[in-house]
Symmetry: C2
């Protein structure tokens, strides 16, 4: 399907240059066609963007949900650290994640509403699952006894900070060190 090639190229340029900075000419050139031919597949720039956005959302969502449905151990240390590694792997092999991050926090103004809706949808689902997990571990006496929302938010914070370091991403060693540091302190801060 040629539409997928277009979306792939669009993803690349939207990620690097943002919505306003990405031009249909560049995207078309990457695929090996003229920019007008894109209109045989999409209604226009917005339509193309929103399609890429939804693909990115699905990648993001299913990867995360699948991880937590797969692992079901009573080993929070392994599960949580594994999730951090999943994020790192996803980010490095899948351009969708960087695109998703950029558009989550700096969306094109005229599409902010549509984007925020999708972002909040994921955010909420992940938070709910994470909170349930933590509640289970608290009940099992595996981590400190407190409101489940506390380790949930703290962990989401660790995830965010690692994603930022991934975006920054010009120093592999620094990334490893920051992950190790954040994880060490976080785990000490919640383990019973």
């Amino acid at each position: 399907m040629k539409s997928n090639d277009i979306k792939e190229a669009a993803l690349k340029y939207f990620t690097i240059h943002g919505y306003e900075g990405a031009s249909l000419s560049q995207i078309a050139e990457e695929v090996g066609m003229r920019k007008q031919s894109i209109y045989a597949h999409f209604k226009g720039k917005d339509d193309l963007f929103l399609n890429v956005l939804r693909d990115a959302k699905e990648t993001e969502l299913t990867s995360k949900l699948q991880y937590f449905s797969k692992v079901d151990s009573n080993n929070p240390e392994q599960d949580l650290y594994g999730f951090l590694q999943l994020i790192i792997d996803l980010f490095q092999k899948n351009e969708h994640v960087k695109f998703w991050l950029r558009m989550s926090f700096f969306p094109p103004a005229h599409l902010e509403e549509a984007i925020t809706e999708e972002v909040m949808d994921i955010e909420e689902k992940v938070q709910v699952i994470l909170e349930q997990k933590f509640q289970g571990w608290i009940d099992a006496g595996l981590i400190i006894e407190e409101a489940a929302i506390t380790p949930t938010f703290a962990f989401l914070g660790v995830v965010d900070s690692i994603m930022l370091e991934l975006v920054y991403g010009n120093d592999e060693q620094r990334l490893k060190d920051k992950v190790t540091a954040s994880w060490t302190v976080f785990w000490r801060g919640i383990s019973a």
Copy 2:
């Protein structure tokens, strides 16, 4: 000085729409002049942008350095939590910070090198000071005995995650909860 009005308006539009999405027409209109008049004060769009960038850098740097030179107590809990509050205050009353954050992580491609240089300069200075502080607290037995870089990186991670939440910024209560959660877990994870 009219130049400052221009820079102020430019800061606003660069922050909201990014480099590519901000137009000189809009910026000029905000100040009450035509876009051509901007060229009496700046060589062009790049020159205007880099001037705004350097202002933002100075605000960012002096605020942070000043905080750590002012407080010199043996109370890391107070100092560190105060720093988080400083970040939040700065962000909410000063548009420079959001601009700085956006351009740090998603710079316009053709200015990436110049921007990265400025960003790394701040990053490094803050890290050095923070690491010295932590070393002092470790030596005084106030926090866990380990390599000073560990709490430093972990704390920088907390700062980053809070800044992201500030950018996201559509839920004041959620911000407070995330700050509280991250801080609680972090502090428990490093306090002796």
